[in-house]
């Protein structure tokens, strides 16, 4: 399909602007003016709308297809959340308004949303305090890591420079640790997919700043030794960070703050139903136990005795500004609506149904694939397509064949410690019928590996484009049309 720049005609317009009601006379000196107008499209509004509507139809989304992308929690994005997030009383609010004198009184509704969202997250996850400022999951990780650094610095414990990270972790964990100024060491997993406790012990010492643990882990497993692990790290003088990317599995069932974790982030765009937006915006609130509260980023939303809300900027030990304002407010608002809708009972039902669906998938598909660990999983199951790979059909090929059958593929080749991994996360919002259709499709593909492997390797056939030359893309990058 043509680019928007290749459409339209000189002089064509897609917008109307207010009339000039003041003298046309600006204060931009000639010498600073650009010689050539920015080469933007010249298209009508209809051209724009048709172009992007047609583009949208080249996408799979949760609203059009089953999207069991492991570790991404592609659950349904409720429409009421979109509705409340588009209320002008929120969208038109300037973030600097509460920082003006008497401006706070004019933003009470927005401040209450932030305060209440933080309170509900604290209750749901078992922590003392929360900041909704981090703008994505990895940004939450970085914030959490900075809080840990501030804690050790505050205790003048300057030797604690090492963060321990299990080998199955998401790539963001070691990357966030690095951006936060730490050195990372890798802790091995044992044969059951749990943290290898002996290996953990061998890494603990006076240089240990803490452990970053995804819980449940990226193999989709809940580590039964979790409390012992947290205790070992505490005894060594470290802190425990919970990567809550997989919190959907244990929503309403496990409160990480009460089992030994000191700090945690959650991905609002995963567990709390806000849309992924084709890659963002996300939101990654960070929750902390008592010991880290003084270090939380500014500003802090506080509730006064008279029930009104205010922003506090002077917090002596705070790590400072990690975001320009109060987080991705529009996303927080959706999460707040989600929690209000579900309430206590609804939130409890989320985790258990997500786990039930994943185990159903696992049991039905286990005969056709290898499993690194043969035990009940959490919200996602990790299968290995090594039996198929031996016959020349790889996880990638299976993924493409699923696209032709109307399903978005599962996550492939992650976690890295599982060869030919296919990581399937059905979520609680999908029905048994959908799961059954997906299972049937996958079994059909596996059978074709024996009878007609070529037909799988040729996939996808139904998409707007076939498999792309990714080597060319990286070797001779064409990143813009200018």
């Amino acid at each position: 399909m043509k680019l928007i720049f290749e459409k339209g005609k000189k002089g064509r317009r897609g917008s109307s602007l207010p009339k000039m009601d003041v003298p046309t006379k600006n204060a931009v000196p000639e010498k600073f003016k650009r010689k050539q107008a920015a080469n933007l499209p010249e298209v009508s509004e209809q051209d724009v709308v048709r172009h992007y509507t047609l583009l949208s139809r080249k996408n799979m989304g949760v609203d059009t297809n089953f999207y069991p992308l492991g570790s991404c929690t592609m659950k349904y994005n409720p429409k009421v959340n979109e509705r409340v997030a588009s209320l002008p009383g929120f969208t038109e609010l300037h973030p600097l308004l509460p920082q003006l004198r008497r401006g706070g009184a004019l933003t009470q509704g927005a401040l209450e949303v932030i305060y209440e969202t933080q309170r509900l997250l604290c209750e749901l996850l078992g922590f003392s305090d929360c900041t909704v400022q981090p703008l994505a999951g990895a940004h939450g990780e970085l914030t959490g890591v900075m809080l840990m650094a501030a804690y050790h610095k505050g205790r003048k414990d300057h030797a604690r420079k090492v963060l321990l990270i299990p080998d199955a972790a998401h790539g963001t964990n070691p990357a966030s640790a690095m951006v936060g100024g730490f050195i990372t060491q890798t802790v091995a997993s044992d044969d059951n997919g749990n943290v290898d406790i002996e290996d953990l012990k061998s890494h603990l010492g006076p240089d240990t700043a803490g452990l970053m643990l995804t819980c449940p882990n990226t193999l989709g497993l809940f580590d039964p030794n979790i409390e012992e692990i947290c205790e070992l790290v505490h005894k060594a003088g470290g802190l425990n960070y919970c990567d809550g990317a997989n919190q959907n599995a244990v929503m309403g069932r496990v409160t990480p703050g009460t089992i030994g974790f000191d700090v945690m982030h959650v991905n609002i765009h995963k567990s709390f139903s806000t849309p992924h937006g084709g890659g963002g915006p996300g939101s990654g609130p960070v929750l902390v136990g008592e010991c880290l509260v003084p270090y939380l980023p500014v500003s802090r939303v506080q509730k006064r005795d008279d029930g009104t809300y205010t922003l506090r900027y002077h917090c002596a030990d705070s790590i400072g500004y990690i975001a320009p304002f109060y987080g991705n407010f529009g996303i927080i608002l959706r999460a707040y609506a989600y929690m209000l809708t579900l309430g206590r009972e609804g939130l409890k039902r989320v985790g258990e149904n997500a786990v039930l669906s994943a185990n159903y998938m696992r049991v039905k598909l286990a005969p056709y694939f290898d499993q690194q660990v043969d035990r009940p999983c959490m919200h996602e199951c990790v299968l290995s397509a090594t039996p198929q790979a031996k016959k020349g059909v790889h996880a990638l090929d299976i993924a493409k064949a699923l696209i032709d059958r109307g399903f978005h593929p599962p996550t492939m080749y992650f976690p890295l410690i599982v060869p030919e991994a296919l990581m399937i996360e059905p979520t609680e919002t999908e029905s048994k019928e959908t799961l059954d259709e997906f299972i049937e499709a996958l079994i059909e593909i596996v059978n074709l590996v024996d009878t007609d492997p070529e037909s799988i390797i040729a996939c996808p056939l139904t998409t707007p484009i076939k498999r792309l030359d990714e080597t060319l893309a990286a070797r001779k990058p064409n990143l813009a049309d200018v």
């Binding site: 897609g14 917008s15 207010p18 000039m20 003041v22 600006n26 931009v28 600073f32 003016k33 650009r34 920015a38 010249e42 724009v48 992007y52 509507t53 799979m60 999207y67 009383g89 003006l100 004198r101 008497r102 509704g109 927005a110 209450e112 994505a136 940004h139 990357a175 936060g180 100024g181 497993l221 309403g252 089992i259 849309p275 937006g277 084709g278 890659g279 500004y321 990690i322 975001a323 320009p324 109060y326 529009g330 929690m339 209000l340 206590r344 939130l347 185990n359 159903y360 049991v363 039905k364 035990r375 696209i403 978005h408 029905s431 048994k432 792309l468 990714e470 990286a474 990143l479 813009a480």
Partner: protein, 444 residues
């Protein structure tokens, strides 16, 4: 239960398949044995109608009817209706990061077009697919300069947004980076002092264009001198101003970042916003964040794919260029549709409106007894005025009269207590400007 599809009957059938009797049995068998929380302080769920009513009521406690002259990096521009109509198509907003290109050509082509649009606007050859916001983009720019030069000193002008500078400080506190801030006038960013601070340990100089006080400055010669010292030059810019101003790419900047909110994204009480980053070709492979490239498929047909992924955390882990994963894709789509609608001529017309209204407003405000000019005459849509008393107090009084009159600089610059930063956009009418002047005169 809301949003849970399976009936009791479905659940029963699934329990039988997996060999469990009920949920408690399932938790036990999956080794989740920690105590179950009561969640006593979480209220009962609400119906859709009740949720909307509650949120409507909260929204009504926020004032949106103010005549706003508040900017300071975040601006109240017109957003054509088509922008939100497109980005609320759920094929866009319910999709994930386009890791499966065959099922994501819509998102991918949009990202490629967005990157192209940013290049056309900034005059830079390479743009990424977006970062979180203008402040984190500036931090990433700083880190890119540090990686690329292998130097750890950074010189920052105080005429860079104080909010962004606060963020740079917070992020570099554990990274053994030496941040040097150079005091600045409203009129100029003390270019000589900035250059004097550049040494053979300097990774980059960071400036803002137009600067935080709204002033437009010449940077071409400055950048040549920075390069002569083998340091990089970084600027944070305001995209709408680039309709009129020489693009930073033509001024010799190596890295250009911006807060992209003004391009079709609502103010939204602070987010989600859009972090823009564009770089020189030389820095392309060290740039953080996702990037989309154009290539061909097995039948030689054009297509788009995420590329240069070996820079990223999911491949390189602790050696990645950044920890960023989720970005602001949907906000980038807003910006793209916005720029397509506004179009080549419209963009200039829009900027002329902003700039002319600003010039008009400044004239009117300066005519008030006791209000004085601060700084020079070269500005786009924002300028500083000196009041005879504390600007924060004046702003407080004007809020009661229905105006957000501007940003009192004393909040971040203690020696500028009486100064007010005033911003104009195409939305403010002549009448509003005149009534602001009248109201200001009345409270002084």
């Amino acid at each position: 239960m809301p949003y849970i599809a399976n009936t009791k009957e479905d659940q029963q059938a699934m329990f039988e398949t997996i060999g469990c009797t009920d949920f408690a049995d399932m938790w036990r068998k999956s080794q989740v044995v920690v105590p179950e929380p009561a969640l006593a302080n979480i209220p009962e769920g609400m119906s859709e109608f009740e949720v909307i009513s509650k949120l409507r009521q909260l929204a009504s406690k926020n004032a949106t009817e103010l005549h706003t002259f508040l900017g300071a990096g975040y601006y109240d521009h017109i957003i054509p209706a088509a922008v939100s109509e497109i980005s609320s198509r759920s094929e866009f907003y319910t999709a994930y990061t386009p890791y499966q290109p065959e099922a994501s050509q819509g998102t991918l082509q949009a990202i490629y077009e967005y990157q192209s649009m940013i290049c056309r606007l900034t005059g830079m050859p390479v743009s990424n697919a977006s970062l979180y916001d203008g402040g984190t983009a500036l931090f990433e720019a700083m880190m890119l300069a540090i990686r690329s030069t292998r130097r750890r000193q950074v010189v920052v002008s105080e005429a860079v947004s104080p909010i962004f500078r606060e963020m740079l400080y917070a992020y570099s506190s554990n990274l053994n980076i030496e941040l040097i801030q150079i005091p600045s006038g409203v009129d100029d960013s003390s270019q000589k002092a900035l250059l004097d601070a550049v040494s053979d340990r300097t990774a980059c100089v960071i400036v803002q264009y137009p600067n935080f006080f709204g002033t437009i400055e010449a940077w071409e010669k400055f950048n040549e001198k920075v390069h002569a010292k083998k340091a990089l030059s970084v600027c944070s810019t305001y995209p709408i101003s680039l309709a009129l101003l020489t693009p930073p790419g033509e001024l010799g900047f190596d890295i250009v970042t911006a807060e992209g909110q003004s391009l079709g994204n609502s103010l939204n009480f602070g987010g989600p916003y859009l972090g823009i980053m564009a770089v020189t070709t030389k820095l392309m492979r060290k740039m953080p964040g996702r990037v989309c490239g154009r290539t061909v498929d097995s039948e030689d047909k054009d297509g788009f794919v995420l590329t240069l992924q070996t820079r990223e955390q999911h491949i390189r882990r602790e050696s990645a260029m950044s920890n960023i994963c989720s970005n602001e894709s949907l906000c980038a789509l807003n910006a793209l549709v916005y720029m397509s609608c506004i179009g080549k001529e419209g963009f200039i017309q829009l900027a002329e409106l902003c700039a002319s209204k600003a010039a008009y407003a400044r004239e009117l405000l300066l005519a008030i007894d006791g209000v004085e000019a601060v700084g020079g005459e070269a500005f786009f849509n924002e300028f500083v005025i000196q009041l005879p008393c504390d600007a924060a107090e004046v702003v407080g009084k004007l809020i009661d009269k229905g105006f957000a009159a501007g940003f009192p600089l004393g909040r971040y610059y203690p020696d500028r207590k009486n100064q007010l930063l005033v911003a104009l956009t195409e939305k403010r009418t002549k009448e509003e400007i005149k009534s602001l002047a009248t109201a200001l005169e009345a409270v002084l």
